[in-house]
């Protein structure tokens, strides 16, 4: 049997053939062409920021998923699977389906019926300007940081795989994204996200298929991993989570269920405007409800192309990968696991498709962040606080400039991110800072009519500040980790999960307490915003197979089967 290429060359992992380069060039030409084509359709603010609100459930659903399937998903979780084993799949299963179905069935009607342009826009209607400003600014800040992380990850792939200069990679990719999002707005972003969905699956699928063939199927892979790490902990989802020290992630099942599946997942999928914006672009409420549910099915099978390659690398690669901080000449980091596996199985042409899939994932993740940033900046910061009564065309122009501004800030962030040893831990820290408490504010606003405007603001602020404070506390004195994560054996990932949980609890407690001492909004101002004062269209007349709740139940069954299979 032929051996894989030598994994280490002078300054790059692999060499691309002319066919590979042609495939990459055609991808860049296509995304720019789509941007140019869509420019004529992005004339009004509704077009530019919400894609005209005319996307089908399938387009909105695939875009919803792909906006999340950026650099961090591909590189980061393949790396996490190598480090933590199949436990990383929790981030695709318990951390996805319940929250995505909840968004579709429970929260999306409020977002859609209120006709808010963004999540901060909903908070303005529900709580008032102060809460909107706080969430808008924190979201804008978080988004450019995320975008920078995406860009850094992309440049890293280019450096490792192609030997490209990291600075050239950052500038080439960001200028391309800036061009097509500036031209077509959310239309461009969504079109390219759906395109990217296909490329990722078709480009990376070669790894799990050939990997399993080489390993001798799943049972063969389990044996190889056991021989490699002398432990079964890497191939079980739940059975090792009884103690912090009994699994590679250093986390307890309570952290996975309540911190990850409860707060982080619900916070991310239901309040992060990057993904919610895609569902809000759907053509009607039923499509908006179906979009995240459709996405949840695909999300459940993404581990096939992200987690499984990490496990295959653990069992099959003839050398060990190391943390980013330990990389020396001749060694590869965890973050390079996916390109390494592509290089192992993909020859000319197929390799170009795989590399294009990675590039597409990075660019679409960045485009998603930048388009969401432009929307929130324009609607929730510029329009209310800088120029209130301008023409629609003016706000479209501002949106285009904001896109460019977002890209520039992302570039600055990309250089900043290079200082961090672990990309994924950094992302989880951001989620616990901003998203976890935001979920507390939004969900209380939707289900509890007594939540007051002042309580919304102070609850969100308290949750965010407490999360940052906990992070700083552990950085200053690691001994505090034992208190925040409930065990001295907890690791970084566990700390993130518990910090998110505490910040959400603090947000909810402060919101409830302040609400009890302040004046609620009049009932007439809560129409369409709160459960009990919102009239939902009845799905009862639709055939069963057309109802979102039917498909939500289907994905729940799928989830249970997966948990049982990998228990």
């Amino acid at each position: 049997m032929p051996q894989a290429r030598p994994p280490i060359q002078a300054n790059r992992l692999i060499s691309l053939s002319p066919a590979d380069l042609l495939i990459i060039v055609i991808y860049f030409a296509m995304v720019l062409g789509i941007g140019l084509y869509l420019r004529r359709y992005a004339k009004t603010s509704k077009d530019f920021f919400l894609a005209g609100r005319e996307m089908s459930a399938w387009v909105a659903g695939l875009s919803f998923l792909s906006a999340n399937l950026g650099a961090l998903e591909l590189m980061g979780w393949a790396a996490a699977a190598y480090q933590y084993g199949i436990l990383a799949a929790h981030f695709y299963w318990i951390a996805a389906f319940p929250a995505m179905v909840f968004l579709g069935l429970v929260m999306m009607p409020f977002y859609y019926i209120s006709r808010a342009h963004s999540v901060p826009g909903y908070l303005r209607l529900r709580y008032g300007e102060a809460t909107r400003a706080l969430s808008g600014i924190s979201f804008a800040f978080m988004t450019v940081l995320m975008s920078g992380i995406n860009m850094y990850a992309m440049a890293l792939v280019m450096k490792v795989v192609l030997g490209w200069n990291i600075h050239v990679s950052i500038w080439v990719s960001s200028l391309t994204v800036a061009a097509y999002v500036t031209l077509g707005g959310l239309f461009s972003a969504i079109f390219n996200e759906v395109l990217q969905f296909f490329l990722i699956w078709l480009g990376v699928l070669v790894v799990p298929i050939l990997g399993l063939m080489e390993a001798g199927g799943w049972s063969g892979l389990v044996v190889k991993i056991h021989q490699r790490v002398h432990s079964d902990d890497y191939v079980h989802l739940w059975s090792t989570l009884g103690t912090f020290s009994g699994n590679p992630m250093g986390v307890h099942w309570t952290g996975i269920v309540f911190g990850l599946g409860g707060v982080i997942a619900f916070g991310y999928w239901t309040t992060d405007f990057l993904v919610v914006q895609r569902a809000m672009a759907a053509k009607d409420l039923r499509s908006a409800k179906l979009a995240p549910i459709i996405a949840s099915y695909f999300k459940m099978v993404v581990p096939l192309i992200v987690i499984l390659p990490g496990l295959l690398a653990l069992g099959l690669l003839p050398f060990r990968l190391v943390p980013e901080s330990a990389v020396r000449p001749g060694l590869h980091s965890y973050n390079e696991v996916l390109p390494l596996m592509l290089a192992r199985y993909a020859g000319p042409g197929l390799l170009g498709l795989g590399v294009t899939a990675l590039i597409a994932g990075f660019m679409s993740g960045m485009a998603g962040n930048v388009s969401a940033f432009a929307t929130v900046w324009t609607y929730d910061i510029y329009q209310p606080y800088i120029r209130k009564s301008e023409s629609d065309a003016h706000y479209v122009r501002v949106g285009r400039w904001c896109t460019i501004l977002g890209v520039i800030l992302s570039i600055a962030t990309a250089y900043f991110v290079t200082q961090f040893k672990s990309i994924m831990d950094y992302m989880q820290a951001l989620v616990s800072f901003f998203i976890a408490p935001l979920f507390g504010t939004v969900i209380l606003g939707m289900i509890w009519k007594r939540a007051t405007p002042k309580a919304g603001f102070w609850g969100l602020l308290a949750g965010t500040v407490s999360s940052i404070a906990m992070y700083a506390l552990v950085k200053a004195n690691p001994a505090y980790l034992a208190i925040i994560a409930l065990s001295p054996n907890a690791k970084d990932m566990a700390e993130n999960l518990y910090r998110a949980l505490w910040s959400w609890i603090i947000c909810v407690l402060v919101t409830v307490i302040v609400s009890l001492f302040t004046t609620p909004k009049p009932v007439e101002e809560l129409t369409g915003l709160v459960y009990g004062y919102t009239k939902f269209p009845d799905d009862g007349r639709l055939p069963l197979y057309q109802r979102p709740v039917f498909w939500g139940a289907g994905v729940a069954i799928f989830f249970v089967i997966l948990q049982w299979a990998f228990w």
Binding site: A4, I23, I34, V59, F191, L199, E214, G347, L350, L353
Partner: protein, 73 residues
């Protein structure tokens, strides 16, 4: 809002791109029949299977969503 022409569906662009990729990879795969690439399991000709898959999916979307054939997204 008045528009010059209905927007082409995203599926059409996907079909075109995948078809182009299918052709490129097919040509490459045929060339590899006599000179297999130095990768693991190259004997199974994964590029050939990938090319057929890309051409099938790409061809279907290109045909089904060809401009004028359907007017919905």
């Amino acid at each position: 809002m008045s528009r010059e022409a209905p927007m082409l569906p995203v599926w059409f662009f996907i079909g075109v791109l995948l078809s182009i990729y299918g052709v490129i990879i097919l040509v490459t795969a045929l060339g590899e029949l006599s000179h297999p690439p130095e990768v693991v399991l190259a004997q199974y000709r994964p590029a050939l299977f990938a090319a057929v898959l890309l051409l099938s999916i790409g061809g279907f979307y290109t045909f089904w969503f060809w401009p004028g054939r359907r007017n919905k997204k």
